[in-house]
Symmetry: C2
Subunit: 161 residues, 2 copies
DNA sequence: GCCTCTGACGCAGCAAAATTGCACGGAACG
DNA sequence: CGTTCCGTGCAATTTTGCTGCGTCAGAGGC
């Protein structure tokens, strides 16, 4: 239930995939233009998109904003090790990370990695304050390792379709 | 030049931020509705969005698709340590990761972390093949640590505005 | 082999959304 | 106090998205 996700296995043909490729780059692309590239009519594209959305294949439509433009020039990846692997503890941590607006992404990983958390803050000082609140003073956290991002080489949510 | 990003410091007022908050959740929201929530007229919202886009604050508009729905049910975070810290090597690795479609995100981090890479693949076997090609057999890579994602607790590109 | 049913398509028309032109009002400046 | 500049709202236009309808091709039943 961690992810309220989509259907087991929708079957997508080449045109669906082509449409997804376009929308993952720019979902403001007019359906008419998509239609040309996919050899369909605009209404057909419209119907396919609607189907993909209600099937959960398309999970959302969002604007991507530049953190730097908002003064959030510092990104940090944090490897968080929980105090225990009991479900209560893990679930508690998940909830905390979900609720924290500075946390942009969070993954629970195996291989003794615990949680990988990506946060965006104004500067190192702000991160220090956040880390204190979210990790150091957190009873559910055993230890954590902070990796400051030097270069966001590639940032996206796109997947290969 | 790693990030062809935006202006030094655009000044955003409360309404800009409110608009960004909405668009980060759903950029298909009609400007009319945004206008209501922000106490502006629709054209005013339109002009502000246009300004935010050309200023680079809004970096793109994308559809988010569910990896699981596409058969990419396995996500792995990889901590990659480069063979050296020379610019040629680092730049080479960055380019390789940018070019690999399985790589969704990649960050160059300090603190001896090297690179953090997020990949999406079909299954563990596919990851093994990918890791061999991208890491094991890569002269620019010294070592790497694979952390399989058990639960994508929070996945987004949104930032607090 | 034929019929029917289902699903997807394109076309045409309609509704809704985005965009532009224009005139007004307030703030900064001289 | 007048001028300029920036952002706004209103109204009109253009573009886009959506829906109804008739057609067609393939799957399955008889």
């Amino acid at each position: 239930m961690g992810t309220p996700t989509a259907r087991p296995e929708a079957e997508l043909d080449d045109k669906d995939r082509a449409i997804l490729r376009i929308l993952q780059q720019d979902n403001k692309t007019p359906q008419r233009l998509i239609a040309e590239q996919v050899n369909l009519s605009a209404p057909a594209v419209q119907r396919r998109i609607a189907r993909l959305e209600s099937a959960g294949v398309i999970r959302g439509n969002i604007a991507v904003v530049d953190p730097a433009a908002l003064g959030l020039g510092t990104s940090v990846m944090v490897e968080v090790h929980s105090a225990s692997d009991r479900a209560v503890v893990l679930d508690g941590l998940k909830q905390q990370f979900r609720d924290a607006p500075e946390v942009q992404q969070c993954y629970h990983v195996g291989g003794n990695g615990g949680f990988i958390v990506i946060v965006h803050v104004q500067d190192i000082a702000a991160f220090d304050a956040l880390a204190r609140r979210l990790f150091s003073e957190n009873e559910l956290v055993y230890s954590f390792r902070s990796l400051v991002v030097l270069d966001p080489v590639k940032v996206s949510l796109a997947i290969e379709v």
